[in-house]
C-alpha cells in the first residue's frame, strides 16, 4: 500500500508529512506532531474528545483520515490561546469549574470555540445542543454551560435572554 504525501496547515503552520492512508487525523496530530491535547475516548465518533477544527468546522478527528484533511486548515486546542493570553473560553472553563478530569476539555473547548464563532449569542438550549456531540463524564455539563456563558460575556456578546 502506497504512502501518501499530505500537506496541511495546523495552528497556522504548514505541515508536510508522508503517511499511510489509514492514519487517522487524531494520530497525525498526537503521534507525529506531538499535539496531544485532543484525545481518543470512544473511537466510534460518539464522545467528541478528539474534536478539532477543520476548515472552519468542528470535526471528530478519530473519524477523519489524515489524507482527507490534506490541503485543509486544522486548529487544535494548542492553537486556541493567543500566545500567553488565554482564549476567553479557556478562562471561562477554569473560572466556572467547567472541567474535572480534563480529558474531554480540549474537545469541548474546540467545539464551543466553533459554536461561538458560528453563533455568538446562543441560548442555554443552543449551547446544550451545540455540545451534544461531546461527552463529559465528570461535570454533568452544568458548569460547562456556565463556562461558555462566561466566555460570551468576555467576548462582549450580549447574553441571550432566556
Amino acid at each position: 500500500m502506497a504512502k501518501t504525501d499530505i500537506k496541511l496547515t495546523i495552528n497556522g503552520e504548514e505541515v508536510e508529512a508522508t503517511v499511510e492512508p489509514r492514519m487517522l487525523l487524531i494520530y497525525l496530530l498526537r503521534e507525529h506532531l506531538g499535539l496531544t491535547g485532543a484525545h481518543i475516548g470512544c473511537e466510534t465518533s460518539h464522545c467528541g474528545a478528539c474534536t478539532v477544527d477543520l476548515d472552519g468546522k468542528s470535526v471528530k478527528s478519530c473519524t477523519v483520515f489524515a489524507v482527507q484533511a490534506s490541503g485543509g486548515e486544522v486548529m487544535t486546542v494548542e492553537g486556541l490561546a493567543n500566545g500567553a493570553e488565554l482564549h476567553p473560553l479557556q478562562a471561562g472553563f477554569a473560572e466556572e469549574h467547567g472541567l474535572q478530569c480534563g480529558f474531554c476539555t480540549p474537545g469541548m473547548l474546540m467545539r464551543t470555540y466553533r459554536l461561538l464563532e458560528d453563533n455568538p449569542n446562543p441560548s442555554e438550549d443552543e449551547i446544550r445542543v451545540g455540545i451534544s456531540g461531546n461527552i463529559c463524564r465528570c461535570t454533568g455539563y452544568q458548569n460547562i454551560v456556565k463556562a461558555v456563558r462566561h466566555a460570551m460575556r468576555e467576548l462582549g456578546h450580549k447574553e441571550a435572554t432566556e
Binding site: R22, G48, S58, T63, V67, S132
Partner: protein
C-alpha cells in the same frame, strides 16, 4: 481500533471517480463523509483495498432551485443542507430531519448522498426522501440515469445502485405550497439511530387531505413507504380517528428487529406513535399552525 491499510484516491472529476469505481470493483469503496464507513473499517467489518474520496468533486456539492425541484448534490453535507435557504423555503422537513441526525460534528462531515445511498435502514434521510418522492441521479460508465427513492432500497445495505455507479445528486420535487410536514424520531439520546421514526408530508384542500405521504425509519430491513397509511388520510379531515387509523396501518408494515432499542413489539408500536404524532404535527403546520 486500526483499519486495514488501503490506497487512497482523490479523483478530480466525476468521470475519474466513476472510472476508479469501475476499475476497483468490490475492492474499492466510495468515501463521502466517512462517518459510516470509517467506523466499519476500524472494526475491520469493511476492508477495502482502495478508497475513492469524493472530497474534491465540487460539482457534487450545492443546493439549487430548478423550478419544480430542488437539486441537492450528493456531497452536500447535512450541515450545509441545514443552512440552505433554498431547502428551508421549499422543503422544511429536510432541516427538521438534519437536526435529529447524529450530532453537530458528524453533520459537518456526513453527506446527504452518503446517508441515502449506503442502504443502512437506520439512516434517517431515506424515509424522508420516500415521503418527498425524491429521485436519485446515478452516474455510471454509460452515463446518467434516474431512479426514484421509492423502490431504491432492496434490503439491508442493498440498493438499486449498481456497483459501478455513483450517486451524484438527489432531485426533490417541491411539495405543494403550504404543505404540512414532520419528521418524528424516537431515540435514546443524541447521536442515536431511531428506535422508530416517521416522515409525513401532507396537504389540505378545503379542509380535506389532498396529498399525503408517510415513510418509516429503522423498523424494517429498509426505510418503509407506508402507502396504505398515507392513502387512508386522503379525503379525510385528518381528525384524531384518521390519524389513529393511519398509525395502525403504518404499524402493520413494520418488521423491526429486537435490539438495544427494545423488543420488536415496542419498536412496532413506536412506529405507530411516531406516525400518529408526525401526522398531527404536519396537520397543524398545514393549517398554518
Amino acid at each position: 481500533m486500526i483499519p486495514a491499510n488501503f490506497d487512497y484516491h482523490r479523483p478530480a472529476s466525476v468521470d475519474e471517480a466513476v472510472g476508479l469505481i469501475e476499475q476497483y470493483g468490490d475492492d474499492g469503496a466510495i468515501l463521502a463523509g466517512g462517518h459510516s464507513l470509517i467506523p466499519m473499517m476500524k472494526l475491520r467489518f469493511a476492508t477495502p483495498g482502495h478508497l475513492i474520496d469524493l472530497k474534491a468533486l465540487d460539482e457534487l456539492r450545492g443546493i439549487e432551485d430548478t423550478g419544480a425541484d430542488i437539486r441537492i448534490g450528493a456531497m452536500t453535507t447535512q450541515a450545509e443542507l441545514r443552512a440552505s435557504a433554498v431547502a428551508a423555503e421549499a422543503c422544511p422537513i429536510l432541516a427538521e430531519t438534519v437536526d435529529v441526525i447524529a450530532d453537530p460534528q458528524v453533520r459537518n462531515m456526513g453527506t446527504l448522498g452518503g446517508n441515502v445511498a449506503n442502504g443502512d435502514p437506520g439512516n434517517d434521510m431515506p424515509a424522508v426522501m420516500m415521503a418527498l418522492g425524491a429521485i436519485y441521479v446515478l452516474r455510471g460508465p454509460g452515463g446518467e440515469r434516474e431512479t426514484p427513492a421509492n423502490g431504491f432500497y432492496k434490503g439491508i445495505f442493498d440498493t438499486e445502485r449498481a456497483a459501478n455507479e455513483l450517486l451524484v445528486a438527489i432531485r426533490v420535487p417541491k411539495p405543494p405550497a403550504g404543505h404540512g410536514y414532520a419528521y418524528k424520531k424516537l431515540k435514546r439520546k443524541v447521536g442515536d439511530y431511531a428506535t422508530a421514526a416517521a416522515a409525513v408530508i401532507l396537504a389540505l384542500e378545503g379542509g380535506a387531505c389532498s396529498h399525503a405521504a408517510i415513510a418509516l425509519t429503522n423498523v424494517g430491513p429498509t426505510a418503509l413507504n407506508a402507502g396504505d397509511a398515507a392513502k387512508s388520510l386522503i379525503g379525510t379531515s385528518v381528525d384524531g380517528e384518521a390519524q389513529a387509523r393511519a398509525a395502525e396501518l403504518a404499524m402493520e408494515i413494520c418488521d423491526p428487529v429486537s435490539d438495544m432499542h427494545g423488543p420488536v413489539e415496542y419498536r412496532r408500536n413506536m412506529a405507530g406513535v411516531m406516525t400518529y404524532r408526525a401526522i398531527a404535527e404536519a396537520l397543524g403546520r398545514a393549517k398554518g399552525g
